[in-house]
C-alpha cells in the first residue's frame, strides 16, 4: 500500500516552505520528498560555485526561476586573492541557458562575469527580470547595455561595487522607451556620467521604481529633478552631495526630500558637506538603514555625528561607518568607540553594524553588548593591529566575551584588536549560532583555532589572516571542515605537509594552496602563503590557474585523482 502523500498534496505543502535551509532538510527525509522538493524549488542558492557542478544543479531543479551564486572567498575584497583565481560565471550561464530558459533572476557575488555572459543572459532568458552583480568584475558597460536593451521585462539591475570597464554612460539610453517595469536600479559603482534626460525619462516612466542608487557623477543640482519624478522610492543612493547650491535650489531639494515618505534606506552621499546635513533630517525618523561609507567628512562622522544619528534614527537597523582618509594616517581622530556606544544606546532596533575605529576599550564593548543584545551582525575593525584596550592596556578578550555571551542571535562576527586564545575560547563556548567569523592579527597558538572549530556549532565560514597557528588544530578538526562552506587562512603557520595530509584524509574537500611565487621545491615543512579549503561534491575544479596547487596536481604524492566527470 502506498503510504505516501500524493505528489500534488506534498507539492502544495512544500510551496509554503521558503527558506533553502528548510528545503534542504526536507529533501533529506526520503526519496519521494526529495523528488517532490526538487521539482518544486524555484529559488536556488549555491554559496560556493565550486561546491557543485552547474549541470547537476540545472538538472535537479527543473522549475528553478532564480539562481544565486557566490564565487571568490570574501577576502578577495581586500586584494588577498590573486587575479585569475577563478569564480567564472560562464559555465553556469551556459548550462542554464541550455536547460533552464525560464530562469528569471540571476544574482552573482564575487564572480568573473564577461560581456559574453551578459549577452548570453540577454539572449537566452525570455522572461529575465533580475540581475544583481555584487563585487563582480570582467564586464563592461556594453554588457549592461545588452541587458537593458534586450530584457523587456527587466525589473532589477543592480551593480554593487563591481569593477566595470566603463566605456561611457550610453548604456542607460538603451532602455527602450516602452520599458516601464523597472523596480530597482543601482549603478553607483560606475564612473561615467549618464545623460540626465535619459535618467529623467526613465524615472518618469517607471512608476514601480522602489530603489534608485546613483553614481557619483550625478551632481547635487540635478537630484531634485530626479526625486520629483520618483517620490515613491524606498531606497535612495544619492550621487555627489557637494555642489554649491543657491538658497532657491536648497529649498527645492529640501521639499523633494521631504516628499520621500516611503524612504527607508539612504546611501551614496559622496563628499557630503556638513552644511547639507540638515537637509537629511526629515528622512531620519523612518530610516532603517544608513550607509555612510562615502560621506567621509571628518566634521560630520565623528562621535558628535553619531550621537545625532542615535537621537534621530530610531528605526535604524543597520549602520556602516567607514574611516575617512585621515583616520588611516593620523592618530588624532574624533571618531572613537563612544560613537558606537551612543548608537547602540539610542537605536533599539539596531542589529547590524560595521564599524571602523582606531582603538577601542573593553568597557565600551561591554556597554554595547548590554545595550544591544539583539545584534545579528557585529563587525568591528580596530584598525591598529594588536591594539589593546587603550585605557587598561589589556587585550580585548573580555569585551568580545560580553558580545558573544549577550548577543545570542549573533550570526556574523568580525573581531580585531589585541586578542589572546581566551577570546576564542569564549567565542567557541558562547557563539552557538555564529555562521561567519573573520579574524586578523590575533591569538597566541593553535588553541585558538581548536576552540573555534570544536566549539562553534553553526560555523559555516571562517576566514583568518596573520594568526600564529597551523597544522595541529587544522588536522585534528578536519571533520569539522566538511560541515562548513569554507575556511580561508593566509599568512598563518600552515605547512605544505599538512595541506597534503588534509587533502588525502578528506576527499570531499578541495584544499587549495594559493602561492603567487611557489618555490621550486616544496618541503613538507615549508609554510604556505594562503590556503582555501571548501567542501564540494563536484570534485577538483578544472580551471585552477598555475598559482593554485591542489593535491591532484602534485606528482609527488603518487596518486592522480584528477578525472574528467
Amino acid at each position: 500500500m502506498d503510504r505516501r502523500f500524493p505528489f500534488k498534496v506534498l507539492e502544495h505543502i512544500f510551496s509554503f516552505v521558503d527558506s533553502n535551509e528548510d528545503r534542504n532538510s526536507v529533501s533529506l527525509v526520503c526519496k519521494s520528498w526529495f523528488e517532490t522538493e526538487r521539482r518544486t524549488r524555484k529559488r536556488v542558492f549555491v554559496g560556493n560555485c565550486y561546491a557543485v557542478s552547474p549541470l547537476k544543479v540545472a538538472r535537479r531543479f527543473p522549475k528553478m526561476r532564480s539562481l544565486t551564486l557566490k564565487g571568490k572567498p570574501h577576502f578577495a575584497d581586500y586584494n588577498l586573492v590573486p587575479d585569475g583565481w577563478g569564480g567564472y560565471a560562464w559555465p553556469w550561464i551556459e548550462a542554464m541557458a541550455a536547460r533552464r530558459p525560464f530562469l528569471e533572476e540571476i544574482r552573482l557575488k564575487r564572480m568573473v562575469v564577461t560581456d559574453e555572459c551578459l549577452e548570453k543572459i540577454a539572449a537566452s532568458f525570455r522572461d529575465f527580470k533580475t540581475l544583481v552583480l555584487t563585487s563582480c568584475e570582467g564586464f563592461s558597460t556594453d554588457g549592461i547595455a545588452a541587458i537593458a536593451s534586450t530584457c523587456r521585462k527587466l525589473r532589477d539591475l543592480e551593480l554593487r561595487e563591481c569593477i566595470v570597464d566603463d566605456l561611457g554612460g550610453d548604456w542607460l539610453s538603451y532602455f527602450p522607451e516602452t520599458s516601464t517595469s523597472l523596480v530597482s536600479i543601482d549603478f553607483s559603482c560606475l564612473d561615467s556620467e549618464v545623460k540626465l534626460s535619459d535618467l529623467e525619462r526613465l524615472l518618469s516612466r517607471s512608476p514601480n521604481l522602489k530603489s534608485l542608487k546613483l553614481n557619483r557623477s550625478v551632481t547635487l543640482d540635478v537630484l531634485e529633478s530626479l526625486l520629483r519624478r520618483a517620490p515613491q522610492l524606498v531606497e535612495l543612493g544619492t550621487g555627489s552631495f557637494s555642489d554649491e547650491l543657491d538658497p532657491e535650489e536648497i529649498a527645492k531639494l529640501t521639499k523633494a526630500l521631504s516628499e520621500l515618505k516611503q524612504l527607508k534606506s539612504l546611501s551614496g552621499l559622496w563628499d557630503l558637506l556638513p552644511e547639507y546635513i540638515p537637509l537629511l533630517y526629515s528622512l531620519c525618523p523612518r530610516l532603517t538603514s544608513l550607509n555612510l561609507s562615502y560621506a567621509t567628512v571628518m566634521d560630520l562622522i565623528e562621535d558628535k555625528g553619531l550621537k545625532t544619528v542615535a537621537l534621530c534614527c530610531k528605526e535604524l537597523r543597520e549602520l556602516r561607518v567607514f574611516p575617512s582618509g585621515a583616520d588611516l594616517d593620523e592618530t588624532d581622530v574624533t571618531l572613537t568607540e563612544q560613537g558606537l556606544v551612543s548608537v547602540s544606546e539610542g537605536c533599539p532596533k539596531l542589529e547590524s553594524v560595521l564599524y571602523f575605529c582606531v582603538q577601542f576599550t573593553n568597557a565600551a564593548l561591554v556597554s554595547i553588548a548590554k545595550n544591544r543584545p539583539n545584534f545579528r551582525c557585529f563587525r568591528l575593525c580596530v584598525m591598529e593591529p594588536f591594539a589593546p584596550d587603550y585605557r587598561t592596556q589589556q587585550p580585548l578578550d573580555e569585551g568580545f566575551k560580553a558580545i558573544v555571551e549577550r548577543c545570542k542571535d549573533l550570526r556574523r562576527l568580525s573581531v580585531s584588536g589585541l586578542l589572546t586564545d581566551k577570546a576564542f575560547e569564549y567565542i567557541g563556548v558562547h557563539a552557538k549560532k555564529l555562521r561567519m567569523l573573520s579574524i586578523a592579527f590575533a591569538g597566541d597558538s593553535d588553541l585558538m583555532l581548536h576552540h573555534l572549530l570544536s566549539g562553534c556549532q553553526s560555523l559555516k565560514k571562517l576566514e583568518i589572516r596573520d594568526c600564529p597557528f597551523g597544522d595541529t588544530a587544522l588536522l585534528e578538526n578536519a571533520a569539522k571542515l566538511e560541515t562548513m562552506r569554507s575556511l580561508w587562512m593566509s599568512s598563518c603557520f600552515v605547512s605544505f605537509g599538512a595541506c597534503k595530509q588534509l587533502s588525502q584524509k578528506m576527499p570531499r574537500l578541495n584544499v587549495e594552496v594559493i602561492d603567487e611565487h611557489p618555490p621550486k621545491t616544496r618541503p613538507d615543512s615549508s609554510p604556505v602563503e594562503r590556503i582555501y579549503i571548501y567542501r564540494t561534491v563536484a570534485g577538483p575544479r578544472l580551471d585552477t590557474p598555475e598559482f593554485v596547487w591542489t593535491i591532484h596536481k602534485s606528482p609527488e604524492v603518487g596518486v592522480s585523482r584528477l578525472s574528467i566527470r
Binding site: 586584494n79 587575479d83 588611516l328 586578523a440 609554510p527
Partner: protein, 235 residues
C-alpha cells in the same frame, strides 16, 4: 639577490619579527592603503612588535623608508579591510584635498583640466607571457619612475640582479628607457594603445585605463617614443 635559500631563512625568523629589513624592503613599496604594489610579498607574519603602540605619535609618513622602521597598519596588504571601491574613493579624496591645500605643484606645461578631481585607483596590468594580471594603485605613485619600479618588482622579482633587499634601487630602470626586452604601454580612455612616458604624469593618470608590459618586438605598431609625441600632447 634573493635566492630561494635566503627567502627560506627569512621565513624561519617570522615569529620574532626580525625579518624587518626584508619586510621593510617589501613594505616600502606600499605607500597607500590597499598596498597595490605589494603583490607577491611572502607571507611574513607580523607581530605586535611591528606596530608602534597605540597613542604614540607615529613616525613621519615615508613610502620609501629604507626598512628600518616597522610597517604601519596602513601599509599591510589588504588592511584595513576596506574594499577597493572605497579605497579609490578615499585616495581620490585625499588627492583632491592636497590639491586644494596647494601642496601639489602644478607644472606650467600642464593643461588646466588636470586640476579636476582625479578619479583613478587600481588599474589592471598585464604582461606578455604572464597569465596572471595584476593591479596597481596609481594613486600610490608620483611619477613614471615610481610606477616602473613597482611594475618591475611585481613581474621581475626573484630574477637575479633585480631589486636589493634594503630598498635602495640603484639599477637603471628598464621599462622606460627602451633598452630592455620589454616596454610599458597603456590603453587610454579612447581605446588607443600608447607608449608610456610621453605625456606629463598628471595627464597620464587621468587618461590611462590599463597597462601592458609588452615585448619590444611587438610594440612596433605604436608611435615611437620620440616621434609624434608633440601631436599627442596637443590633445
Amino acid at each position: 639577490m634573493i635566492s630561494e635559500l635566503e627567502m627560506g631563512k627569512a621565513e624561519s625568523e617570522l615569529e620574532l619579527g626580525l625579518g624587518l629589513s626584508l619586510g621593510g624592503g617589501t613594505a616600502a613599496k606600499i605607500g597607500k592603503p590597499g598596498g597595490g604594489g605589494a603583490w607577491g610579498e611572502r607571507g611574513r607574519l607580523l607581530t605586535a612588535k611591528d606596530f608602534p603602540s597605540v597613542g604614540s605619535k607615529r613616525a613621519a609618513d615615508s613610502a620609501s623608508h629604507a626598512g628600518a622602521s616597522p610597517p604601519r597598519s596602513s601599509q599591510v596588504v589588504g588592511w584595513p579591510p576596506i574594499g577597493s571601491h572605497r579605497m579609490n574613493s578615499l585616495a581620490a579624496k585625499s588627492a583632491r584635498e592636497e590639491e586644494e591645500a596647494g601642496k601639489k605643484k602644478v607644472k606650467d606645461d600642464e593643461p588646466k583640466d588636470v586640476n579636476k578631481k582625479v578619479q583613478v585607483g587600481f588599474i589592471k596590468v598585464n604582461m606578455d607571457g604572464v597569465a596572471i594580471g595584476r593591479k596597481v594603485d596609481l594613486n600610490a605613485h608620483s611619477s613614471y619612475e615610481n610606477l616602473a619600479q613597482t611594475l618591475e618588482d611585481m613581474f621581475f622579482r626573484g630574477n637575479p640582479g633585480t631589486i636589493g633587499l634594503t630598498g635602495q634601487f640603484t639599477k637603471p630602470l628598464r621599462l622606460l628607457d627602451g633598452s630592455s626586452e620589454f616596454v610599458l604601454t597603456y590603453e587610454d580612455k579612447e581605446g588607443d594603445w600608447m607608449l608610456v612616458g610621453d605625456v606629463p604624469w598628471r595627464m597620464f593618470i587621468t587618461s590611462v585605463k590599463r597597462l601592458r608590459v609588452m615585448k619590444t618586438s611587438e610594440a612596433n605598431g605604436l608611435a615611437a617614443r620620440h616621434q609624434e609625441s608633440n601631436e599627442r600632447q596637443r590633445k
